[in-house]
Symmetry: C2
Subunit: 258 residues, 2 copies
Amino acid sequence: MKRILLFLSVMGLVANSQAEIKSKAVEYKQGETILEGLSVQDDAIRGKRPAVLVVHQWKGLGEYEKKRAEMLARMGYNVIAADIYGKGIRPDNPKDAAFEAAKYKDNRALLRARVAAGLEVLRKHDLTDPKRVAAIGYCFGGTTVLELARSGAEISGVVSFHGGLSTPTPADAKNIKCKVLACHGADDPFVPPKEVAAFEEEMRQGGADWQLISYGGAVHAFTDSNAGNDNSKGAAYNEKADKRSWEAMKQLFSELFK
Amino acid sequence: MKRILLFLSVMGLVANSQAEIKSKAVEYKQGETILEGLSVQDDAIRGKRPAVLVVHQWKGLGEYEKKRAEMLARMGYNVIAADIYGKGIRPDNPKDAAFEAAKYKDNRALLRARVAAGLEVLRKHDLTDPKRVAAIGYCFGGTTVLELARSGAEISGVVSFHGGLSTPTPADAKNIKCKVLACHGADDPFVPPKEVAAFEEEMRQGGADWQLISYGGAVHAFTDSNAGNDNSKGAAYNEKADKRSWEAMKQLFSELFK
């Protein structure tokens, strides 16, 4: 038995040393706007596979989203990190980030068009099994993937991590065809209880297949280790909630892609 | 490689055929009251192991709880299904069940004493690793394990499935030493939004390590396949929420017992 375990372990090591996460920029368009996303895969895996779209926080596609995309690629998914803002538009301070995010929060039709463009790139990618596609998003990206669901996108599921839950068109929840998981910091001052209650009512009225997890002690940005650890600022990293929400996403994916 | 997989698969089959779930009644006392629980283990596993206390629904310890205890035993846990009501007290209709449950809901000190007596049996059991103990409960049992947490019990975690979340002594949440997971049917008319909000505030004020999952489309008793499938009755089985909440419990256990 020991020899077999040793053998399997060596096989595992070989597989690991072969695994190489490849990422490269991909340009695509929505209307006349040039967008620059990131395409990430594990080179050691061959053939079509389930695929995940990753949507960025309010500062636009950056290192944080790249890290998440790589984590997903390592799990065997074909990943595109989408760009909602446009090539080169990467606000580096909260004021500019809020300004940029507001453009799309205030124009949901544009937001839907932008995320749909990224989804199209993912769906048509050589390595994507187009019947097994999900989307996840963080903060602004959480709002975005919920909007994608409300648009009636033909995907398997969406996961929002500390995303804003409000919508100007709650009746659109009736269009939702995919499973919805919202991972929410119970102390998030930017997504207050009233907004959570409205979201739950929206999902209920729309007849969606939805779940919402409230993580005690977690505020906004709880998955982002760059957010510091001072809850009183309203945004802070929370390791427990980060790990738990990632596991919850994996659990949903195992249901979607079984 | 094929031969190795075949070999491992045969080993697995051997292990399965050896596994035998043993259950037997255990009498114990709380004060002068005789209680009759159920002790359940997988005979194929040797030695001490993590342990789980299972607390029953409003009709008392029965087939439903036995099934859950067996599922846990198969996963490798040492299990006691507790008896809160007393030996032979197994109300078989809603009126009597409500009457019996109310005795304890209205006397939380007695409820805590009863569940503590069961926990003691589990903790002192030969096969229990006393540092790795959790408690789960359904409906009335969910309320009970939350009360166990509020009593300051030295266990690793509690999971409530469609349990009532209210308490007459919210300040006791400061005593909580274990992780708390509440699995809640978002449409449960017996645990309305106001009660959920009060629970979240209680946990927050008490500084507990807590999570609450709301399952869309699920009402009371969503894990119980005997509850029918008519949501309009307020209690009904929901297969998705049943499976998802079981997975959420397993995820918490893997965190507790790693």
